[in-house]
């Protein structure tokens, strides 16, 4: 297992290198400049700023410098917020996005798996059809439509929860619900189809023939195999979850990484865009590795040789 982890971590280096190089040149080859947008700056000031951030050097030197700094764990300065480094910005805003993402995914797992199991046990009942129709609705309704609708209902009509506030735990409820809706739906569908497949397996018949109660058959014998598709889905889900936080943070005015990213992209804050893209990529690779490890633990037939 340790070998697998080391090999996978080494294997991610070339992928990350491709990402760094791709983003770096993509950004630099694009027209514009972090300071050219602000028309208030006279030409000399822009030149001075370029010099200060090392943007006046030839591109390949800049690339080399960036990689060198990166090797030291230094993601560079923000060109928009003078005096702030990308490392500081991530440290400052990550906890917010992380809390939001984790709560949303936890929500989705608990609700999605429960709905999926119940649906699979009552296959083709009206309860099953109803939950699957709702799940389809969850998949179809974009988060930026659902979020505002929730605000209209719960904040502006019922006055239960505040719209667009941040700081207290209850301010997390609507954003987390908005973010998790689509995953509840996906996970419910995946659990249902995974469970249906497993429930047809011969070994489930064996378990029933042993006289085990239905709950033991389902929870001890079927669930383990049935939720493997859900675990595999967690990797790709994270990509979309991260993108989803961008939207949710915008709707609910939450100071997270997603908003920083969009701001940075729009203002050509080179190092912030680079740093966040890289950070997200590393997060993804690690998450995919974790998923593989969990699947390995769940399914003894998979061996890493």
């Amino acid at each position: 297992m340790l070998k697998l982890i080391i090999r996978r971590l080494l294997g991610m280096i070339p992928v990350l290198f491709i990402i760094i190089t791709l983003t770096f040149f993509l950004i630099r080859l694009a027209p514009g400049n972090p300071f050219a947008n602000d028309k208030a700056f006279p030409e000399e000031v822009i030149q001075a700023l370029n010099k200060q951030y090392g943007l006046d050097k030839p591109l390949h030197i800049q690339y080399f410098n960036y990689i060198t700094e990166l090797a030291k764990g230094n993601l560079g300065p923000s060109t928009r917020y003078a005096g702030k480094t990308v490392n500081e910005m991530i440290a400052e805003h990550l906890p917010t996005s992380l809390a939001l993402g984790l709560i949303a995914y936890g929500f989705a797992l608990i609700l999605g798996v429960s709905i999926g199991i119940i649906s699979s046990l009552r296959q083709n009942s009206s309860l099953d059809y109803l939950s699957m129709a709702i799940a389809m609705f969850g998949i179809s309704i974009p988060s930026f439509v659902l979020g505002p609708l929730l605000v209209i209902v719960f904040s502006l009509t019922l006055f239960w929860l505040p719209p667009a506030r941040w700081g207290e735990p209850k301010h997390l409820i609507l954003p987390a619900l908005t973010l998790s809706a689509i995953y509840i739906a996906y996970i419910a569908r995946l659990t249902r189809s995974g469970m249906l497949e497993v429930l047809r397996a011969d070994y489930i018949r064996t378990a029933r023939a042993k006289g085990l109660t239905e709950s033991v058959v389902v929870l001890r014998h079927a669930l383990r195999g049935g939720i493997i598709p859900v675990v595999s889905f967690t990797g790709p889900a994270l990509t979309f979850l991260l993108a989803g936080t961008i939207v949710v943070e915008k709707i609910f005015v939450i100071p997270g990484l997603g908003r920083i990213f969009i701001e940075a992209a729009n203002s050509r804050d080179y190092f912030v865009v680079m740093g966040l893209t890289l950070f997200v990529s590393i997060l993804l690779v690690i998450m995919n590795l974790l998923v593989d490890i969990v699947i390995g633990l769940l399914d003894p037939r998979i061996s890493y040789k």
Partner: protein, 322 residues
């Protein structure tokens, strides 16, 4: 009724419903099994023999299948009338099953130890460590060497024959009064088949279990069973003591089956095959279901033949005279 009888199945009917058609997989099956005896149920695939065995323990999944009629009397109780929790106390404890494919019948996600332990923990109330001891004991009994170490292995670490041994160990853990073995050797190599059959035979004597052995292979039942029931299209078409069935078969289908077993003693140039295909259970012909493939068809065969007693222990469902 004799108290000597452990299981009595009467007019069992299990139908499967799908897309507007009804498949009468088991349609009026009746038989009795004496304590300590072994009954073989023989037939082609789709003849209803597996469905019969699953119906006894009410393991038919609904939908699409449903037991729509009949009685299964075990220990003076009709199993069809028991509550879910009452039948669960019989499953695995008093009536145990072994299934056809040992590759898929064990849970691939659990160690065999966990799968063996849960049955004695449930029915005998053993503690975890007692159940583990019992499991090792059972594994040794079925001939798995180094049982105390292998108990923590997963099914995929065992060969097919070994897995079937594990299944047998599991089935016999609670010393059931009846063991239903549904094609226990079909998925195994020929050399392993004999070992498994010997094992079942030996343990049957040791534990004193009655056995229902389901198979499509007449060669297997010959040395194992006391009686044989031959099934065709959801019905028992012939029932006789094993020796008598082999020596004086009555039903044309049984005769065909016997002829298609290769006999190395005679100088056969080619194997006999029963002509035609197994019947489509959703579109059975009128009258005797075997009539389209029968070489002795008569006018009466348009009517369904009643089961006739040929002698004290021999029954056959055919219009043919002796």
């Amino acid at each position: 009724m004799s108290t000597n009888i452990i299981l009595s199945v009467r007019n069992l009917q299990t139908y499967f419903y799908g897309d507007g058609s009804v498949v009468k997989a088991v349609d009026g099956v009746s038989f009795e099994l004496k304590k300590g005896e072994t009954l073989g149920i023989v037939g082609e695939s789709g003849s209803g023999k597996s469905v019969t065995s699953l119906s006894i323990l009410r393991l038919i999944a609904y939908p699409p299948g449903k037991i729509i009629g009949g009685e299964v009397v075990f220990d003076n109780k009709d199993l069809m009338k028991l509550s879910e929790s009452e039948i669960r106390r019989i499953r695995g404890k008093r009536i145990a099953m072994i299934f056809q494919d040992p590759m898929t019948s064990l849970n691939p996600f659990m160690t065999i130890g966990a799968q063996l332990k849960e049955i004695t923990e449930l029915h005998e109330g053993l503690s975890s460590s007692q159940a583990r001891k019992k499991a090792i004991e059972m594994l040794e009994l079925v001939g798995i060497s180094d049982a105390s170490r292998r108990i923590d292995d997963y099914p995929h670490q065992f060969s097919g024959g070994m897995r079937q041994r594990v299944m047998i160990a599991m089935a016999l853990s609670c010393k059931p009064e009846l063991l239903i073995a549904d094609e226990p050797t079909t998925a195994l190599d020929v050399t392993i088949q004999a070992q498994i059959l010997e094992l079942i035979k030996g343990l049957k004597e040791k534990i004193g279990t009655s056995v229902i052995l389901i198979t499509h292979d007449l060669g297997i039942v010959a040395g194992m069973t006391d009686h044989i029931a031959v099934m065709y299209a959801g019905k028992i078409v012939e029932y006789a003591p094993t020796e008598e069935l082999f020596s004086t078969p009555h039903h044309p289908y049984t005769k065909g089956l016997l002829k298609s077993v290769p006999d190395p003693m005679t100088d056969q140039k080619q194997l006999f095959q029963i002509p035609g295909l197994p019947p489509d259970l959703s579109r059975l012909p009128k009258g005797c279901p075997f009539s389209p493939r029968c070489s002795n068809v008569k006018a009466e065969c348009q009517e369904f033949p009643p089961i006739k007693q040929i002698n004290a222990n021999h029954y056959s469902a055919c219009w043919l005279e002796n």
